[in-house]
């Protein structure tokens, strides 16, 4: 049987077609990296339910305020954003068992054992006139403080930084050093 020669396909134009598609996708799509600070908002209190004040001990709470001219107060102390991190770190770790800093509660963490977990809560308050930039800068410092404490914890117990740890270890670190940032109900910090 005579071999039938298959005719060659003309494929020159596929490159053009692919180029057209490529240009189309270049025009309609974006490549920007989506990143930001992740937060969880508190549940809206039920209207029918009586709001029971969960009395947090005075020493367990630090109030971080930003007023309408972007001035920062942490624990009734005027300070710069750069000082906030150390203040928060001191507050959350309480290395010297200072009676004015938050108490600790020994909790059993699964897969790790007992660890004194701080009961400290950071309460962030802002004014309606606060600029978003200042607000994010403060939020960022708070996260940074927590992250550094977690890093220290991981380095002590697992010998590497938080990000290098395994999923389980990160979970333990998250439980041992909770990120208790409460964004308070809106109210005007500065009186009119």
């Amino acid at each position: 049987m005579a071999k039938k020669k298959t005719p060659g396909l003309n494929t020159q134009s596929t490159a053009d077609i692919a180029f057209l598609l490529l240009c189309y996708f270049l025009m309609v799509s974006t490549m920007d990296q989506q990143s930001g600070l992740v937060r969880r908002l508190p549940q809206m209190p039920d209207k029918n339910q009586k709001t029971e004040d969960t009395k947090v001990n005075r020493r367990n709470i630090i109030i971080v305020k930003i007023n309408s001219s972007d001035r920062l107060f942490a624990g009734d102390q005027l300070m710069d954003v750069s000082q906030l991190k150390d203040k928060i770190k001191e507050f959350m770790t309480n290395p010297n068992e200072d009676p004015n800093l938050p108490e600790k509660e020994v909790k059993n963490i699964e897969g790790f054992g007992d660890y004194p977990v701080t009961k400290g809560v950071i309460s962030l308050q802002n004014d309606r006139g606060t600029s978003y930039k200042a607000y994010i800068a403060v939020q960022n410092e708070l996260v940074k403080a927590i992250n550094e404490i977690r890093d220290d914890f991981c380095r002590q117990n697992f010998g590497r930084v938080y990000n290098a740890c395994s999923e389980d270890q990160q979970k333990i670190a998250r439980e041992a050093i909770p990120q208790n940032i409460s964004e308070a109900e809106p109210k005007d910090v500065t009186k009119k």
Binding site: Q33, R40, R128
Partner: protein, 153 residues
């Protein structure tokens, strides 16, 4: 003796592989990029932050833009910071419908994981952001993200 011998037959260089290369490019862009969902009509210059986390699943995110309207809309909407949902300017009262619509578009399993990304300009005041936050709490869309640029970019 010539180093590059020209075969007498071929006048045209071989183009067969170029389409493969272009297709490769095409797939690369299709995988790494995402479709531009809506035209941003407000000025959004994100604030800087160092401790940012990446948005894990873009398909679960809804975006709320807050900023002052762009120049061509200022005649109509003024220069005060406005909220943009999808493609139009809205007020805080419309957020409820927006969230409900976004929820409906998701599959049952994903609804719990829905995340709202607040993209606010660094110059807006917290008043409007607080209003948005309160409204989100009322709609129980509690997972939010303050969009921010990684510092030094």
């Amino acid at each position: 003796m010539p180093i590059f011998k020209r075969s007498g037959k071929k006048d045209m260089p071989e183009l067969g592989t170029s389409s493969d290369i272009v297709f490769m490019f095409l797939f690369f862009f299709m995988v790494t990029t995402q479709m531009r969902s809506s035209e941003v009509k407000v000025r959004v210059h994100l604030p800087e932050a160092t401790e940012v986390a990446k948005l894990e699943r873009k398909d679960l995110a809804s975006y709320i833009y807050i900023g002052s309207p762009n120049a061509q809309y200022q005649g109509q909407y003024g220069t005060e910071a406005r909220i943009q949902l999808n493609d139009s300017f809205k007020t805080t009262n419309d957020i409820r419908d927006f969230i409900a619509a976004e929820r409906d578009a998701m599959s049952e399993a994903d609804r719990q994981l829905m995340q709202v990304s607040i993209k606010a300009d660094e110059d807006v005041r917290m008043g409007i952001v607080t209003d948005v936050k309160q409204e989100l709490r009322r709609c129980s869309a509690l997972k939010i993200m303050y969009a921010a640029r990684k510092a030094g970019q």
